[in-house]
Amino acid sequence: MEHTGLVFNIQKFCIHDGPGIRTTVFLKGCPLKCRWCANPESQLEKSQLMLDRRKCVRCHRCVAACPNGGIRPDSKTGYPVFDRELCQSCGSCVNACLGNGEKALTMEGQRMTAGEVLKEVLKDEVFYKSSGGGVTFSGGEPLKQMDFIKPIAKELRKRGIHTACETAGYVTEEEMKEAVSCMDLFLFDMKHYNGEKHLEGTEAEQENILNNLSLILDSGCKVISRIPVIPGFNNEEADAHGFGRLLKSLGLREVHLLPFHQFGEGKYEQLGITYQMAGIPSMKPEELTGMKEIMEQYVERVQIGG
């Protein structure tokens, strides 16, 4: 329980990420680079400052607080500008920030030991037990921090608590084998059925992912595949057939289609990163009915939403 991991949120009473009442542990760091990513704060495996301008009163307490001189006020707007190269994630600026009643600055990503996380997630143990729920590891890519989550998951299982992870599968075979040894359910994200398109959308090779998926399926673990449906990337009829064929060939029996949404938009600005999907409208669940019907020709259970 000494291993540490970079956690950016522990969310309780989750009812859409696996069976029963669950707690989801969000870990930072992801090897994929999907341009539609809705959790941009999860991408880097280091703590990151976020500034919510709506809460910033431009008092510049943070400027004075930074020991590295890494913050200066913007000459035009007065909002703080961060030199992220200089940032050591010490949190001095966050401590100094008062915001408009709520802090404008937050530090996303906190180093926690496995023991600390275990203690936190066990607080809702009674609710898992009565609902058949448990703990879901999500991210980022949780399986990239296997040393950290494995002892937690093992302990949970020992107590009869259900474990799940949300993964994109872009990890080493070793890491996946470890995961198979301690997870009851894989929520397996699939971005595309075509290798080239996959590379283009995520900057990652698909082959390794599919190998890992086979590895899980061979082990007999339960897998639900999840497809983020992204306009202009994988939302055509042909895509539905393509996905359907792939899933069928792998022997997958359940898939969730997740409509593209814009909940993450504000976070890009707060992190000071450009967002490539800005202004593209969110999809309504009913827009996926066509895809659902097509995929039902290949897969036993197709559901819109998680």
Binding site: Q11, K12, F13, C14, I15, H16, G20, I21, L98, G99, G101, K103, K123, D124, V126, F127, K129, S130, S131
Partner: protein, 801 residues
């Protein structure tokens, strides 16, 4: 389309009529009561009171609405609030011209009646309960009363109630049975024993009340037959004749049918609402009492499920006609002019088996069809409550009018037994008013007690050396001011001392009020209908009930805990702030940049109750427990006079008191600004519970629930999306079950109206006339609430998925 189906045309029209009814103050009871009071000035008080109420029953205007199958009205018009001059008249006269201009709970007074009311006021000068109660208060307690730091105005300005009488026995045996009992016991009295005299007066008064109640029913019987003669519509004619027959028989005789049972209960309930204006007069476990009648009528083809449902809906509409006017100061504690007429369904039978029956389902359905603030519907939860019944309850919850509330047998029954209640009685408990509980027909008046103690305001006074921050008046003996306190342990020790003093003061105030009520306004019919008043010859306030435990009401539990935790963490442990910085900021209500800095540090650097954080949850529990453990040492005025108990325990069913008591409380160390609302019941302070409902349940479960038998009120607000699919509803049911089965939760209720709806209702009140929301342990029309209470409800944290 309502999941529960539509009401019949007549019910819809009756409902509409009542929704449109303007709430008047009805002077008639005031006139008749005063008349009789003058004529019977020579009588012992209890007999005088019987004559007064009997006069009202004899001479008041009665009517039978065109749509109704159940007869009986409380005042000249439906939704009019009768005048009860015997309790208090000063505020009525003072507010005569402002009732119409109130921010919430508006009442109308006819111009020509204002003079009559002033005249009645003159007669009652120095005669009312309030006059006598205030005169009886020693000066040091008068200060506490006047400051409202322990609020108890309601207890000496109106009646008691807060109980459910023996409706079960009533419909099985009839009022005649109770009359025989009175005669039998009167017979046994030996008047050479001077203690028998008071008993004789009580029995004589009881006979007057029983006979005038029967005569009152007969008035409706005659009226119905007169109306039948004139009626052109053959169907209606038949109904009126049936009403006439029924009112001839009940409540005097045992009820012979489902319809008669409802009419019998209604008439008694009504007379009790005319005898006294105490609220939270509850029906008890109506599903249990009515089940045999329903079963029999169904078998014999006398009713169908639909016709029985219509009768129940009719009964609830009648229930909704009852109204009560309170002083403006008191109104803010009970926003939405609630009567808290509770009906309880479900739970266990006397053997501990599930007691739900077809009438339980029917009551859910009938209440859900009407979606009105009355009755207040409670479901008794227990482990064996069927899942399909829970799902049906969730269907009601999803309608968004705050009902039903859930009370938990698994903690309430053992908690009663621990205090000396017999197991089979404990198993037949019902909710009374909001979340408080008692055994119907066996429990004394006002199980909540009388006084609302403002714990955060006392904390501030303590930090200020014993002087109230709001008024500058001393409310506690001198104690060490915060600036001189050296450690958190010392601070907490000061609080423990303070909590003891609050408990003592609240008991003293209750005892004074009880003593004066016992003498001045004994309730008679109500006593007859509670065991063992008749057997002992004692009315409720003099120790007639089988059980008599009462609780005070403690307000601001979460603010107390959060405040102490913030001081511990920020001042004593991490030294982020000095004592001087904190004190200065509190005194200046966190004003200015420096004040805001201090406030933010207090808010952001200390954990808050409601997030399953042991640090603050333990502090909250310990701080409240200092009061809880103290109050259980005290005895009420009935101790040793007959009842089992005669003791106090704690309770947090603080209704809407968190708003006005917050309004009188300066800035607190949890970062709450002066005059803003306190947290209600045992719920977390609004907006600080950021980890969702499971964490709130865990935090609440750390309180000493077994000792807070007066009720542990928890409001949760759910976004409607949580109840949209059956799968998600089952998950919500699962956390409720866990809260009750494993965490010993006492109570929970849900508000599922969205913030958007409520904001829209603030903008366009005319379009949301029938929007009912959960206030705190009860529901009220959103429009009837003051703006501040509306805002407070909107601010409550909404848990989404």
């Amino acid at each position: 389309m309502n999941y529960f189906g539509e009401s019949t045309k007549r019910i819809q029209s009756f409902r509409e009529e009542l929704l449109n009814a303007k709430a008047y103050i009805s002077v008639e009871r005031g006139i008749l009561y005063t008349q009789a009071h003058r004529e019977h000035r020579d009588c012992p008080i209890i007999l005088q009171r019987a004559h007064c109420v009997a006069r009202v029953l004899r001479d008041m205007k009665i009517f039978i609405e065109d749509q109704t199958l159940i007869a009986g009205n409380q005042a000249e018009y439906n939704r009019a609030a009768p005048l009860f001059p015997e309790y208090a008249m000063d505020w009525v006269v003072e507010e005569l011209d402002t009732f119409e201009k109130r921010d919430g709970d508006v009442f109308y007074v006819k111009e020509e009646e204002k003079e009559v009311i002033r005249e009645i006021g003159k007669y009652w000068d120095k005669l009312t309960l309030k006059d006598k109660g205030l005169a009886a208060l020693p000066p040091e307690l008068r200060t506490i009363y006047d400051l409202g730091i322990i609020k108890m105005e309601g207890s000496i300005t109106s009646g008691d109630a807060h109980l459910a009488v023996n409706y079960d026995k009533l419909i099985q045996k009839g009022l005649g049975y109770f009359r025989d009992q009175v005669l039998e016991h009167r017979e046994k009295l030996d008047l050479t024993d001077c203690s028998s005299l008071e008993k004789r007066y009580f029995y004589d008064a009881s006979l007057i009340m029983i006979d005038s109640t029967v005569a009152f029913a007969h008035r409706f019987s005659s009226l119905a037959s007169e109306m039948a003669e004139r009626e052109q519509n053959e169907e209606r004619k038949k109904e009126l004749l049936r009403i006439s027959q029924i009112c001839k028989r009940v409540p005097q005789l045992p009820a012979a049918s489902f319809w008669e049972a409802l009419q019998s209960i209604w008439l008694i309930h009504l007379v009790l609402q005319i005898e006294s204006n105490g609220h939270s007069l509850s029906y008890g476990r109506l599903d249990q009492y009515l089940a045999p009648f329903y079963r029999k009528d169904l078998e014999q083809g006398v009713v169908t499920e639909e016709s029985a449902c219509e009768l129940l809906e009719n009964f609830w509409l009648k229930t909704f006609t009852i109204n009560k006017v309170r002083s403006w100061a008191h109104t803010q504690f009970s926003a939405g002019s609630p009567l808290y007429q509770n009906v309880t369904v479900g739970g266990q039978d006397e053997n501990g088996e599930d007691a739900t029956n077809p009438v339980s389902w029917l009551i859910l359905k009938s209440v859900a069809r009407l979606r009105l603030p009355q009755p207040n519907l409670t479901v008794r939860y227990h482990r064996g409550l069927p899942q399909d019944f829970m799902r049906e309850c969730m269907q009601v919850v999803s309608l968004g009018f705050g009902m039903p509330a859930f009370n938990n047998d698994e903690v309430i029954i053992p908690s009663f037994v621990e205090k000396g209640v017999r197991l089979e009685d404990a198993r037949s408990y019902s909710a009374i008013g909001c979340v408080e509980v008692a055994v119907p027909g066996k429990w004394g008046y006002r199980c909540t007690g009388m006084s609302f103690s403002n714990l955060p305001r006392f904390l501030l006074a303590m930090m200020n050396g014993g002087v109230d921050m709001t008024s500058g008046i001393r409310v506690l003996p001198p104690c060490k001011p915060f600036l001189e306190v050296e450690s958190y342990e010392e601070l907490f020790e000061e609080w423990q001392g303070t909590a003891k003093k609050i408990a003592a003061m609240s008991v003293m105030l209750d005892n004074y009020a009880d003593t004066v009520i016992e003498k001045e306004t004994p309730d008679i019919l109500c006593s007859v209908l509670v065991d063992d008043c008749v057997k002992r010859g004692l009315h409720l306030k003099s120790g007639g009930a089988v059980y008599d435990f009462i609780s005070g009401l403690q307000v601001g539990i979460a603010n107390l805990g959060d405040s102490l935790a913030a001081l511990k963490r920020c001042v004593f442990e991490e030294e982020l702030l000095s004592k001087e910085e904190v004190w200065d900021a509190l005194v200046h209500n966190f004003e200015g940049e420096e004040g805001e800095r201090v406030r933010q540090i207090l808010i952001q650097n200390a954990p808050k109750y409601g997030n399953d954080d042991d640090y603050v949850d333990r502090i909250t529990s310990d701080a409240y427990n200092a009061f809880v453990q103290e109050i259980i040492k005290y005895k009420n005025t009935r101790y040793g006079r007959g009842p089992i108990g005669g003791m106090y325990y704690a309770g947090t069913s603080s209704i809407s008191a968190n708003v006005p008591q917050g309004g009188m409380t300066m800035a607190t160390p949890d970062g709450r600004k002066a005059k803003s609302p306190l947290a209600e019941g045992c719920s977390p302070q609004h907006g600080v519970d950021v980890h969702g409902p499971t964490s709130v349940f865990k935090s609440v479960s750390k309180l000493p629930t077994h000792q807070i038998t007066g009720g542990v009120l928890l409001n949760q607000k759910m976004n409607h999306s949580v109840l949209e699919s059956e799968k998600d509803t089952d998950k919500l049911i699962s956390i409720i079950r866990t809260f009750f089965d494993s965490l010993e939760g006492f109570h929970v209720q849900y508000n599922v109206v969205s913030r958007e709806t409520m904001r829209a209702a603030q903008k366009h009140p005319e379009e949301y006339r029938d929007l009912v929301v959960r206030v705190a342990g009860y529901s009220a029309f959103f429009n009837s609430l003051s703006r501040q209470t509306q805002d407070d409800i909107i601010e409550r944290t909404e848990h989404t998925v």
